[in-house]
C-alpha cells in the first residue's frame, strides 16, 4: 500500500496537470461550473531537432566530437538536419481568474510573462568545417538567432452553444519588454581555391528599452558603448494575439477539442537596428611585395583583409524601426473517449502543430489514457511520435481542500548528458506545474 502511494507521488511530482481551467483551448472553460483563481503556472518547453549525440561520438574508448578524424563525414553530417534548431520557451502565468457569467458564458482574465529564444544553424556550417569547401557554394541564410520577453494580459470567453458544442476565444494584449532578432535574407558563401565570396544581407534588431548602442565614426554599431535611453521606454513593443477553440461532444463519452493559439504578433520598436550588407571577396593577399613577406608584415596584411571582411559583416546603424514579429502559431486537436464500462478512464488521441518562422515546424501525434476522479485527482499518460521522434508524457492533478495542484511532464527518449541535462537526441521536453484555487 505504501509502495503504491509512493509510486503515485513519484508519478505526480514531475507530472503535469490536466487542462481544467485551461490556458490552452479557451472553449474548454465552458464546462466549468464555478470560478477559479490560478495563483501560479510555470511552463518550460525545450525543443531541439538535433541532440548532443549528433556532435559527440564514441571512438577508441573515449568521447570525441564529430570533427574528430575517426568520425567519417557521413557519420557526423548524416546525423544533422538541414537546419539545426534549438527553441526554448518559458511561460509564467502570474495570475488567472475565471468566473461563470450571469449568462451561460465563462470569463477568464490572465496576466503572464513569456520568454522565448531560439537559434538555428544550417548544416552547411558543419559541412564546411568537417569536409571542406568542395561542395561550394553554400547557402547559410537559415542562420537565425532571436529572443523575446513580453507580458500578456488576456481576456477569455467560453460559450456553450449547445450541450454538445462550445466555442471559446481569448484575446491577448502583448506588451513587449525586450527583443533581439538576427535574420539573414541573404547569406551565401562561395569558396574555392581562387577566391572566397561572402554575400550577406542581414538585419540585427535589438530593442533599446534601457540603453542605446553607440555608433562609431563610420556608422557601425559599437557594442562597447551605450548611451541614453530608448525612445519608447517601457514597453518596447505592443501586440495582439488571439486564441480560438471549440469543444464538440459528438456523442456520449466522446469529446473533440480543437484550438488555434497565438494568432498574432508584436510590433516591436527596435531602437538598435543594424544592417549587415554587402559582398566581400577574398582573393588572397594582393600585391605582396618581397619586403612584405616577413611574418609581421604578413600579419598586417591579414589584419587588413579581416578588417575589410568586418566592414561587410559589422552592422551599420540604422534609424530605429518597427517590425512586426509573429508568435509561434500552434494548432491543437484532442479527442477523448470515456470508456463506457468505466467512464473515469478515457482514451485520448491528440496532435499538435507549431509553426516557426525560423526553422522547421514542430508536430506530434499522441495516444493515451486518462483517469479522472473529480474532486480527488486525475492522472494521464500518453505517448506518440513527431518531429523530434518518440515522445511520452504524464500529467496529473491532486485536489486538496479548495486547491488543485497540477503538473505535466513530457519528454522524448535518448537520455541526456549526465549533470548537464543536454538531450542526446532530438527532443521535445516540457515541464509544467501550477496551482489553482477553486472557488466553490
Amino acid at each position: 500500500m505504501n509502495k503504491i502511494l509512493i509510486l503515485i507521488l513519484a508519478a505526480l511530482v514531475p507530472a503535469a496537470g490536466i487542462q481544467a481551467q485551461s490556458t490552452g483551448n479557451p472553449a474548454e472553460n465552458a464546462a466549468l461550473e464555478s470560478g477559479f483563481l490560478r495563483v501560479g503556472d510555470f511552463s518550460n518547453t525545450l525543443r531541439n531537432n538535433v541532440g548532443a549525440a549528433s556532435f559527440l561520438f564514441h571512438s577508441g574508448g573515449k568521447l570525441v566530437t564529430g570533427l574528430h578524424s575517426s568520425i567519417s563525414d557521413e557519420e557526423f553530417l548524416g546525423g544533422l538536419k538541414p537546419v539545426n534548431s534549438l527553441y526554448s520557451q518559458i511561460d509564467y502565468n502570474l495570475f488567472s481568474y475565471g468566473w461563470k457569467g450571469t449568462a451561460r458564458g465563462y470569463h477568464t482574465v490572465e496576466v503572464g510573462l513569456r520568454t522565448n529564444y531560439g537559434v538555428s544553424v544550417p548544416k552547411e556550417v558543419f559541412q564546411i568545417l568537417k569536409s571542406g569547401t568542395s561542395q561550394s557554394p553554400y547557402d547559410l541564410s537559415s542562420f537565425r538567432a532571436f529572443g523575446n520577453l513580453f507580458a500578456e494580459l488576456a481576456y477569455g470567453y467560453a460559450l456553450p452553444l449547445t450541450d454538445a458544442l462550445s466555442l471559446g476565444g481569448r484575446v491577448k494584449l502583448l506588451a513587449g519588454l525586450n527583443s533581439v532578432d538576427i535574420t539573414a535574407r541573404q547569406f551565401a558563401l562561395a569558396a574555392s581555391e581562387d577566391k572566397y565570396t561572402l554575400d550577406i544581407d542581414a538585419d540585427i534588431d535589438l530593442t533599446n528599452r534601457n540603453k542605446k548602442i553607440g555608433v562609431d565614426d563610420e556608422g557601425f554599431l559599437d557594442y562597447t558603448s551605450f548611451s541614453g535611453k530608448g525612445k519608447l521606454g517601457i514597453p518596447s513593443g505592443a501586440g495582439l494575439a488571439l486564441d480560438f477553440g471549440l469543444v464538440w461532444k459528438a456523442f456520449n463519452g466522446f469529446s473533440l477539442s480543437a484550438s488555434v493559439l497565438d494568432m498574432g504578433g508584436i510590433l516591436w520598436y527596435y531602437g538598435n537596428a543594424g544592417l549587415s550588407s554587402g559582398t566581400y571577396t577574398f582573393e588572397g593577399l594582393e600585391d605582396l611585395s618581397t619586403d612584405e613577406m616577413e611574418q609581421d608584415k604578413l600579419a598586417t596584411k591579414i589584419k587588413e583583409a579581416g578588417e575589410e571582411l568586418l566592414r561587410v559583416i559589422r552592422p551599420k546603424s540604422l534609424d530605429g524601426r518597427f517590425r512586426l514579429k509573429g508568435l509561434p502559431l500552434s494548432a491543437k486537436l484532442n479527442a477523448a473517449y470515456a470508456l463506457p464500462f468505466w467512464e473515469r478512464l478515457s482514451v485520448d488521441a491528440s496532435c499538435l502543430y507549431t509553426g516557426y518562422r525560423f526553422c522547421a515546424p514542430y508536430w506530434e501525434a499522441r495516444g493515451g489514457l486518462s483517469l479522472d476522479y473529480p474532486g480527488l485527482c486525475s492522472l494521464a499518460v500518453n505517448a506518440g511520435g513527431g518531429a523530434e521522434g518518440f515522445v511520452y508524457g504524464v500529467a496529473g492533478s491532486v485536489d486538496f481542500l479548495a486547491f488543485r495542484l497540477y503538473a505535466r511532464y513530457e519528454n522524448g527518449v535518448g537520455g541526456v548528458i549526465p549533470y548537464e541535462d543536454i538531450p542526446l537526441k532530438a527532443n521535445h521536453k516540457l515541464f509544467r506545474i501550477g496551482l489553482v484555487y477553486l472557488i466553490k
Binding site: 559527440l56 566530437t65 578524424s69 569547401t133 611585395s289 537520455g415
Partner: protein, 387 residues
C-alpha cells in the same frame, strides 16, 4: 481506492522520467577528446598575389646584385650592358701643326696603331651562356678646327681566345677619308653593329691617318691649344644565348614551416607566374629538409624522409613589356602518415635560354609576378584542442 487498482500502469508512470536520465556513456565530465580535424575532404584557400618583382630586385634579393654590377652595368633604359669608352689618342693642334712637313698645305698625320679590349667582362658572362647581342662598336673623333678633317684606317674586331676556340676575326674593315665636321666633339665617323654571333673582345686599329687642312693654327679657335681626340665606344646588350651549364643549387635554411602539429597529408600550391624575363626557369630538383640532431647535439638539415615534394615549375621566358604566363604547381605530400615540420628546402634551378621570338635583351626593369597563388589542402588540418 479504485485509483490504486492499476499498479502496473502507475509503476510505468513512475519510472518514465528515468528514460531521460543521464547516459553515462556521454559523461563529458570525464573528458572529451577535443582534437578536431577540419576540412577532411579538401579546402582551397586563395593566398594572393606577389606584386611584380623586377629583375634588379630579384638579383639583389638573391644576393648577386653587387656581383652583377661589377660585371655589367645598367644603361639609361635599364638594359644590362657592357660598355667601353676608350680615348686612345689625344694631341694639341700646335703639336700636330709643328710635326707637319708643310703646315701651310693640307697634310696627313699617321696615328700609332692601337690594340685594346672591349667587352672583357663579357667573357665572364659568356661562361654562363650570356652573349652580347646586339653589340655595337664605333670610332669617334674630336675636331678643334673650324674646318672639317678626315680619318682613314682599318678596324679589326676579334673574339676572345679560349682553349677550345682560338680568337676569331669578327670584323675587319678599312675606312678611307671619313669626314669629321668642324668643331665636332666625339663625332662618330665609323660604326659597326652586329646581332648574334660571338662577342667582340679585342679591337685592333691599324693605319689610322688624320687628313688635316692647311694653316691649322689659324683654324683653331684656341690658338693651337685645341685638342684632337680619337676614341672608340663599345656597347653590348646581355642576353642569355644558351642554357646555364648546370642548375643553380639554392638552399633555403630558415623556412620553419610547423606542419607536423596540423597533421596535413597533402598540400598543393598553384600559381600563375607572369614573366618578362627572357630566360626559362625550371625547378629541376626540390627536396624538403628537416632538422636532424646528432649525438653531440649538433643540428643539421637533411632531406625529409616520408615527404614527397614534386614541382611542375617551368617559367617560360617573356620579353620586356610582353610577359608570358606559366601555370606552376608544387605538391607536398606525405608518403606515409603526415607531413612533418619542414625546416628548409633544397632546390636546383635550371636557367635556360629563352624560347620564342622577340627582344631577348636583359632589362633590369623586367618583372616576374606570382599571381593567383592558391593552395588546396587535402586530408584535413588537425588541431589539438585543450581539454
Amino acid at each position: 481506492m479504485k485509483v490504486f487498482g492499476h499498479p502496473v500502469l502507475l509503476c510505468l508512470l513512475a519510472l518514465s522520467p528515468l528514460w531521460s536520465c543521464g547516459n553515462p556513456d556521454y559523461d563529458v565530465s570525464k573528458g572529451v577528446d577535443r582534437e578536431v580535424t577540419l576540412f577532411s575532404d579538401e579546402v582551397g584557400v586563395p593566398l594572393g598575389d606577389i606584386a611584380p618583382i623586377t629583375l634588379k630586385s630579384l638579383f639583389e634579393g638573391a644576393g648577386i646584385g653587387s656581383a652583377i654590377t661589377m660585371v655589367a652595368s645598367e644603361d639609361e633604359d635599364g638594359y644590362l650592358v657592357i660598355e667601353e669608352d676608350k680615348s686612345f689618342y689625344n694631341n694639341y693642334t700646335m703639336l700636330l701643326y709643328s710635326s707637319m712637313p708643310d703646315p701651310t698645305a693640307p697634310g696627313t698625320f699617321a696615328v700609332d696603331d692601337y690594340e685594346g679590349t672591349l667587352g672583357s667582362n663579357a667573357a665572364l658572362l659568356a661562361a654562363f651562356g650570356f652573349a652580347m647581342s646586339p653589340q655595337s662598336f664605333c670610332l669617334y673623333a674630336t675636331n678643334p678646327l673650324t674646318e672639317e678633317i678626315a680619318v682613314s684606317g682599318k678596324v679589326t674586331l676579334s673574339s676572345m681566345e679560349l682553349e677550345e676556340a682560338p680568337a676569331e676575326t669578327l670584323v675587319s674593315e678599312e675606312y678611307s677619308a671619313l669626314k669629321v665636321p668642324a668643331a665636332a666633339q666625339k663625332e662618330v665617323f665609323f660604326s659597326v653593329e652586329r646581332s648574334g654571333g660571338k662577342t667582340f673582345y679585342a679591337c685592333k686599329l691599324d693605319n689610322m691617318k688624320l687628313h688635316l687642312p692647311a694653316d691649322m693654327l689659324t683654324k683653331d679657335t684656341d690658338g693651337g691649344m685645341g685638342m684632337f681626340e680619337l676614341g672608340y665606344r663599345y656597347k653590348g646588350f646581355a642576353q642569355l644565348a644558351s642554357d646555364f651549364p648546370a642548375p643553380i643549387p639554392i638552399d633555403v635554411n630558415d623556412l620553419s614551416l610547423p606542419l607536423a602539429a596540423y597533421r596535413v597529408k597533402e598540400a598543393r600550391i598553384r600559381a600563375e607566374i607572369s614573366s618578362e624575363i627572357p630566360m626559362t626557369l625550371e625547378i629541376s630538383s626540390l627536396k624538403a629538409l628537416v632538422k636532424q640532431t646528432d649525438e653531440d647535439g649538433n643540428t643539421t638539415l637533411v632531406p625529409a624522409e616520408g615527404v614527397r615534394v614534386s614541382a611542375d615549375i617551368s617559367v617560360a621566358s617573356g620579353t620586356y613589356g610582353n610577359p608570358v604566363v606559366s601555370p606552376v604547381e608544387l605538391l607536398i605530400e606525405a608518403v606515409e602518415g603526415t607531413i612533418p615540420d619542414i625546416d628548409g628546402l633544397q632546390l636546383e634551378v635550371a636557367i635556360k635560354a629563352p624560347t620564342g621570338e622577340g627582344d631577348r635583351r636583359m632589362n633590369m626593369n623586367e618583372t616576374i609576378s606570382f599571381n593567383n597563388i592558391r593552395t588546396t589542402i587535402s586530408g584535413g588540418i588537425t588541431l589539438q584542442g585543450n581539454e
